[in-house]
Symmetry: C2
Subunit: 422 residues, 2 copies
């Protein structure tokens, strides 16, 4: 697997664009994106499990039901959530605007929105600019780049990746973009992630592969514990790579390469793509100054490791300590302890627990067997002052391991969210 | 019921004190408290359900097992949590220090600690100062006040209350103190709350009454979503009020006053005491500028109302919006939505949900039937700028109602917790 340029336009047969249609009032930023496949696609998606779902989510759930999509239209600046029946009408009109210019069925279009909740979406601005949207579609990196800019809100960094793998002797590509900075605590799916691939792959294999990748990437990401109303990760596969045998879950026809089936190779690459985007989102968490990776190893199961790691990464006290570069490991055990108490099965023995802090600047153990060990506060401070730090927890219970990505809690998080609407 | 002065010394037969023994290095603040009943007591307590429990919690659980206690010894400045076997030894030595000076059994002493986690407790300082502790015991408000000061850490306000009710023609008093400002997201119990009463009441009735009160008070409180390792609420009842019939759960012997049994009257007063302390704790949340009460009404059940209200009060985004006085009601629905998704039974229909913001400055409805209503942003801002605000949510599903107390998320929360240990 190699990383390549081009984002969602790297796979063959995909076009993209992003323009400004005026949804973000008083801003010159792009706010409307379109991604389009010249051929029909198998598609898979996962959506937020928030009970309060944006209109775009509910409509896209309808449209993905048959496993086919050819386009994604997305706006930033307005979440089209909590907008009642008019919100559903607006989402339908968005899909129609895209289907009209592309001459495809509206049911072939996924709709995504991100931005402020509870404000009616000015869908007429989207309709008015549909022609411009079509005219600006491109099949190169610029198209991808414009689309990515158009879905960003409080993001300060670009989240994009593309990779190439070989399947059945043919190069197969996966390209992706994502946005997400706040209201991030995914469950099922997260934020917006748009992924394209030219792999020939069955709908079932695509769905299975996406769910597996999401579980190990976006579902291991937290910025502020708030699961959004608008989370969506969607992948379109148009088969243009012409890999000889379509990838299936069982892959009984495919040659095994190094013990891996075509499905394994594709899934590994997709997990890499999603995990890379998840790390980029944590690193760009609202107000964050650092990426905090929490790794739990030696847990009774992978799920237990994930639950405990997520609780540590979500703790306001742990996050504030990371901001202050304070080696306050007691808060780490505390966060594991209350997670364990509230989740049956997420058990561990505090007295067998060890904790270390790691970064480029070194590693320091701060807790062994649930109790303190003497360590250099100075060294710990240097380690925690780095931009990427890891809290490494060992449980000595079993083989379950998981890493969760989060960030620190800073003055700027409070500032950004004290007045987001205006 | 009338509110009176005197705190935990208001009920007959209770003494208290607080001194400085040097656990908080470099500080002149008091750090060691003792509360003592001259007669033996029925006692009840609830403890943190965090899997990682402080040594003081585990020892106090042992000591309360027979339903009898006569004293509480508590220190601030050190949580004696994650301190291994030595931590348990230190907790036992604390109990012995108190039992020695009071000439009672160590098993009659509850032990509580609060402060930094993972640092060995310098219990020799407590032993050395035990005589001073005994010499300074008082039965008046000053004794209560000294004890209260000695359990405070980042608290900036005193949490204390005492009430008098009449049972069987006799005045019965309940006095209480609490500490708590951060690491507050109780489940089962919270923070430290010490309650005394001179009521004659059976152990069973006392336990039942305390659990009911805690469920409706401390368990409806959140500052930062972090359930502490050291939470404890304990009540001692010494019977000195000499109310004729001992209060029992069934109270078959007691006269009904306005349809209320002695047990009802006592429980009502205890709930008032605990709820008052819970509000004081939310108001004094670390860095908080305001008390935020989230009320959910019309839910399918009281438990559903509580779960939804707690999710809203816990949301970092809602809390930051309160700090910024931003009427960002979409975040309120979002927080209810993800709570509902993760808790079976905590169901509601977003399309029947209405939200208002209230304070001394007035009331403004911001959402009706899950969608926006037009409102004056200026008026909403004025309402949210007050020091006590309420987020009022109506669901039109049933009769379940609950209020949860929280606070805003501020720069100072980040500051306080970015460097708590040093």
């Amino acid at each position: 697997m190699i990383e390549i340029k081009g984002g969602v336009c790297a796979p063959k047969g995909f076009l993209a664009t992003g323009i400004r249609c005026g949804i973000k009032p008083g801003s010159q930023k792009k706010d409307l994106a379109l991604i389009y496949s010249q051929k029909s696609c198998n598609a898979a998606a996962v959506f937020t499990n928030n009970k309060v779902k944006a209109a775009s989510i509910r409509l896209s759930q309808e449209h993905i039901a048959d496993g086919k999509l050819r386009a994604i239209i997305a706006n930033s600046g307005n979440a089209n959530a909590c907008t009642g029946r008019e919100g559903m009408d607006a989402a339908r009109r968005m899909a129609q605007a895209a289907s009209g210019i592309l001459s495809i069925e509206p049911s072939q279009v996924a709709v995504a929105s991100t931005g402020v909740i509870g404000v009616p979406l000015p869908v007429d601005l989207i309709e008015k600019n549909a022609c411009l949207l079509k005219a600006s579609l491109r099949d190169d990196e610029q198209g991808h780049s414009d689309a990515l800019e158009a879905i960003m809100t409080t993001d300060t960094r670009r989240k994009e990746i593309a990779v190439e793998i070989e399947i059945g002797g043919k190069p197969v590509r996966i390209g992706a973009m994502a946005k997400g900075s706040g209201m991030i605590h995914p469950n099922m799916a997260t934020m917006l992630a748009f992924i394209t691939t030219d792999a020939a792959i069955t709908g079932g294999a695509l769905d299975s592969s996406l769910r597996h990748a999401v579980k190990r990437s976006f579902n291991r990401l937290t910025v502020d514990g708030d699961t959004s109303t608008n989370d969506m990760a969607v992948i379109l596969a148009n088969g243009e790579a012409m890999n000889k045998e379509q990838i299936t879950i069982n892959n009984e026809h495919s040659e095994m390469i190094n013990g891996k089936s075509d499905y394994d190779i594709f899934s590994g690459a997709l997990e890499h793509v999603c995990a890379s985007l998840a790390r980029m989102m944590a690193r760009d968490g609202e107000g964050a100054t650092k990426l905090v990776t929490v790794t739990v190893t030696g847990a009774g199961s992978e799920d237990t490791a994930q639950a405990l790691a997520k609780s540590v990464a979500s703790s306001s006290l742990v996050k504030a300590a990371c901001f202050g570069a304070d080696a306050n490991w007691g808060r780490v055990l505390c966060a594991m302890g209350y997670a364990s108490a509230s989740m049956p099965g997420a058990d561990f023995d505090p007295e067998k627990t060890s904790v270390s802090f790691k970064s480029r600047a070194g590693e320091v153990q701060v807790c062994r067997d649930g109790g303190p060990v003497s360590f250099s506060e100075e060294k710990a401070k240097l380690i925690l002052l780095e931009e990427e730090v890891e809290i490494f927890i060992s449980l000595r219970e079993g083989n379950g391991t998981a890493s969760v990505w989060g960030c620190d809690l800073t003055y700027d998080y409070v500032k950004i969210n004290g007045d987001y609407r205006s």
